[in-house]
């Protein structure tokens, strides 16, 4: 059983490495297909200076050579200097932006899980009741209100009109983490509530719940101790893709609230053609997504004995 688990993890890690190589190749090809290099149009420099710059950043070598040189260095944790922020390495930039992004994503995910699971459970207790219709209506609204609409609306109401919370920033003023967190969490909260409700409705009609009821357990104990474990499987399966979504969400939320995280860096790097920064961020995000997909699968294994048996 344990060796089967190890073999599965090893297999997944191997395919993850392959995927990352693929991501690197595709990103590299895309960036180099772009018209205009990083030093192309800014200001006119003499031919010698441009050649020297190109030589320094290895832009004068053939593409495959550049690619493998890059990979070799990346494996040693050296992603090179940023093209647009001279004197700073890409690793420095990512490390500077990472805490804010990770903190935002964690808060948003925790808030979404908490509210989503509670709302989904309340809805599933009595399908068709007012609580069910209210929470599912709100969930539908949450799915249809993208972060770039919800964020500005929240800023307008709570920041500008009511003046309860700061309108931008991260960790500078008291309470400035609330609006970005809520903005990023809303959509996930909605999906998690729907998935929890669907899973719980299915579980609550199972024979083992009838057994638990006939033993005289309270409704709360039945849901929390028995039904939720099975009902949360779809939610866990959703968390892998949700991680990818959180990253895309961080592009928008960090732009709206002017948070100096790596999501905003990515958009700026894309506009600036900052090759090295784009490459490193793409690889980093891809690794993160692959890691979370694996993690979600492992949690599902832990929750579901049937999957464990199928494995061995």
């Amino acid at each position: 059983m344990n060796s089967a688990l190890l073999r599965m993890i090893a297999g997944r890690l191997a395919s993850a490495a392959l995927l990352l190589l693929l991501v690197a190749a595709v990103t590299f090809a895309l960036i180099h297909a772009a018209p205009g290099g990083p030093f192309a149009s800014d200001r006119a420099v003499s031919a010698e200076v441009e050649a020297a710059l190109n030589a320094q950043y290895r832009l004068d070598q053939p593409l495959p050579a550049q690619f493998f040189a890059y990979l070799g260095q990346a494996l040693q944790g050296n992603f090179g200097p940023s093209y647009r922020y001279p004197g700073r390495t890409v690793s420095e930039l990512i490390i500077a932006g990472l805490p804010a992004t990770l903190e935002l994503a964690c808060y948003a995910l925790l808030l979404a899980l908490l509210i989503g699971i509670v709302a989904g459970s309340l809805a599933a207790r009595r399908p068709g009741s007012a609580a069910d219709q209210l929470s599912m209506g709100l969930a539908l609204l949450g799915i249809c209100l993208p972060a770039f609409v919800l964020g500005p609306l929240l800023v307008l109401v709570f920041g500008v009109y009511l003046e309860w919370l700061p309108v931008s920033g991260w960790g500078e003023l008291a309470g400035d983490k609330w609006l970005p967190t809520v903005t990023l969490a809303a959509g996930y909260c909605a999906y998690i509530a729907r998935l929890t409700r669907a899973g719980l409705c299915q579980q609550l009609s199972q024979p083992y719940i009838i057994t638990a009821r006939s033993k005289g357990l309270s409704e709360l104990a039945i849901i929390v101790h028995h039904a939720l474990r099975g009902a949360l499987l779809p939610v866990v399966a959703y968390l892998g893709p949700a991680c990818a979504g959180l990253i895309a969400g961080s592009f928008v939320v960090e732009t709206i609230f002017q948070i100096p995280g790596i999501g905003r860096f990515y958009i700026q790097a894309a506009f600036n053609r900052d090759y090295t920064l784009i490459m490193a961020l793409t690889l980093f995000f891809a690794a993160l997504i692959i890691f979370f997909n694996l993690l979600a699968d492992l949690v599902a294994l832990w929750l579901d004995p049937r999957q464990r048996e199928a494995l061995s």
Binding site: A34, F148, V149, F251
Partner: protein, 272 residues
């Protein structure tokens, strides 16, 4: 009961919004890009029902024209996703065996990729053309469709009418197109309905970041992005485009969910 009412309300609202937007060139009261700098940004009034922006452009006209573009992109990109997803999924499911395993591994691998980032890169690298926009969006959204169609085709392949068709000597292609795929139309239609809102959302997301539709053209996402810049002084420039996008997405999702429920209830085990 309330579900039925909500569904028909959503259907009518959606039909109205779609018709009004598609007929924008004839219905819009003003030229959407005609500037009137002396007028400037005005709140809603009788002349300009939804007000004007800081260049004095009529918001209602811009909203209608923008909606037209948003919907056209939504439909075109969904068509791309439909084409890719159905042909990929149907081939994998029908051929089966090693081809199937390989094709589905590709889909699984693509699921794990940061696709939104590739779309961002594509738009940055190859300029921001409309054709590229809907191809890029369609290329992201076909994966789930492929999975659904494959599951359906695999199930239908075992059925008696396929065997019968094979007995009368039809080729694989004829069996697939004339007999198998029409029987998958339910799930395909349902999932298409649910793809349109996610495609429109992705377009709005890109336009909001400045990577989608470019001026002088405009879409709801681009209008929202412009509205955000001046929302403290001129909130209507944010509120109306946001309401238009959200209402449309809400209607589409309501309809898609309802269709799925009907399908699941009418054919037990039929939906993927």
């Amino acid at each position: 009961m309330t579900g039925k009412l909500a569904t028909s309300a959503a259907l009518w609202l959606l039909a109205t919004i779609t018709a009004v937007c598609l007929l924008a060139p004839w219905l819009a009261p003003y030229d959407p890009s005609a500037q009137n700098l002396l007028l400037g940004a005005q709140p809603p009034s009788l002349q300009h029902w939804l007000g004007t922006d800081s260049f004095g452009r009529d918001l209602l006209s811009r909203l209608l024209h923008g909606g037209r573009l948003s919907m056209l992109i939504g439909l075109c990109a969904t068509a791309v996703a439909l084409l890719l997803g159905v042909s990929w999924g149907a081939t994998a499911g029908f051929v089966g065996g090693r081809t199937d395993a390989l094709m589905m591994r590709v889909v699984d691998a693509l699921y794990a990729l940061p696709f939104v980032m590739f779309v961002v890169l594509l738009m940055v690298v190859f300029g921001r053309s409309l054709a590229l926009l809907f191809i890029a969006i369609g290329a992201v959204e076909w994966l789930t469709m492929a999975r659904i169609v494959r599951a359906q085709v695999r199930a239908l392949k075992q059925s008696e009418f396929v065997e019968a068709a094979r007995c009368i000597g039809l080729s694989n292609r004829q069996i697939l197109w004339r007999h198998v795929l029409p029987n998958c139309s339910g799930p395909i239609i349902v999932y298409t309905t649910l793809t349109i809102p996610s495609v429109m959302l992705l377009e709005a997301f890109l336009s909001f970041l400045g990577l989608g539709v470019q001026p002088p053209q405009s879409s709801w996402g681009a209008l929202i992005s412009q509205g955000v810049e001046t929302m403290e002084e001129y909130p209507w420039l944010l509120l109306y485009p946001a309401a238009a996008l959200t209402t449309t997405l809400l209607c589409l999702n309501l309809l898609g969910d309802q269709l799925r429920d009907w399908l699941e209830n009418s054919s037990p085990g039929g939906a993927a």
